[in-house]
Amino acid sequence: MDKRTTASEAIAELRDGMTLGIGGWGSRRKPMALVREILRRPVKDLTVVSYGGPDVGLLCAAGKVKKLVYGFVSLDSIPLEPHFRAARQAGAFQAVELDEGMLQWGLYAAACRLPFLPTRAGLGSDVLRINPELKLVKSPYAGAEELVAMPAIELDVAIVHMNRADARGNAQFLGPDPYFDDLYCMAAKRRFVSCEKIVDTRDFSKYGSFHTLKLNRTMVDGVVETPGGAHFTECPPDYGRDEAFQRAYAASARDAEAWQAFRARFLELESEAAYQDAVRAWREGSK
């Protein structure tokens, strides 16, 4: 089956009020081209699930987020995502703040079609106070230990960015960490992978061992080739984080005027290609 598609076709499946899972971690290998496509559309009231980075910051700044499920939102080299901070302090969305491990457990429970998974993480902390929907469960075995019953985080749509993929939906990470991209895909009804390059299946082995083929085609509905599609987050070994551009992005959270200027220059464009052109022009201009 040929699953090649476009960012526009993939994101057209996203409807108001859906739950969207976004792979990557902080400012690392985020499906930014797909996020930018969301910004071009009127879709709103999303529940976003993410180990958050600028994906979350951009969607918050654009007013797309009704509810956010997260453990943190960071740009890594800038510890706190400034657009996320501004939206959070303005009370712009419902915050479901979890321990990082609880978030993994919620995705894994959904991936396994379980209602919950037990964990010790969360006990005693305010995670349970600020998320009163979280319940405890008693072990049926000796000791009857009480644990947090982390509910499944079921996703309508998952988007992730990988280094390589084939047309059938197998996908390869070539950087240091697969993050939780497989769990996002397995927890979702519809799963879209953007990648730096679509390759022939037999060519995966030129880039890395078969251990790097983290997504198999049961996990994927659509494949989008978007070179530079993780920009400005890192996507090693293809490219590192664009720190200069990330600083410019962070500075755009300063006030409404700065954000409007950033939006006009980089986001309110008709396509990903136009975005990449705008970034190139910016880079030339700042030399």
Partner: protein, 254 residues
Amino acid sequence: MTAATRAEVCAVAVADAFRGDGEKLASSFGTVPAIGARLAKLSFEPDLLMTDGIAMLLADVQPVSGEAKGDPVAEGWIPFRSVFDLLWSGRRHVVMVASQIDRYGNHNFACIGPHARPKAQLLGMRGAPGNTINHTTSYWVPNHSPKVFVERVDVCSGVGYDRAAALGPQASRFHEIRRVVSNLGVFDFSSPDRRMRLASVHPGVRVDDVVAATGFELAIGGDVPETRAPSELELHLIREVIDPAGARERELAA
């Protein structure tokens, strides 16, 4: 060798917190804790494990400043999901930075003000709830003040001793806050009621200075000792091997 600076005393105090840990993952946040963990590994705790901060377990010890020491030697692959697995197994001691901490060691770096509508969003919960209930934790405070050492944390991200006790012995059996190291002194929870105890004051700091900078009543014994001075070997390791560019001096409050 010139006398130890305050940052160097703090780094050695952090290193001492890792004593006895053996084959555990030593995770650290902040420059002084990163130096302390490396110092412990290079001297009295050679079996500690450390990462490159990304996904590699490093067999060698890399400096926190200046030039890297050759190519890093990988002894393992530890992506985030493996870090979670490891921390749930308990074989880890983390040093986290505290934005707020109270007398029982309840910790906050999530936000200031009510969580529903924070006055200042900080890091969020991150891994603090899972870390503190699963394995040993210590804290680093580079700017000891009543704004950090507070009567009550606004939000509890890391679990303290009163909350752990309320969970009962079964749920709290892996909970341990080993040490709090600040720019003024070293603290532990060895008092009978598990209140934060002033274990030592750094050279040049008076007990009264610590009391004045703390927003709650500390447990203080008769004679509070001075934090131990770094040895000649430790100063050599800090200055020449671990932090040759002196990053440690920039982290402490002026």
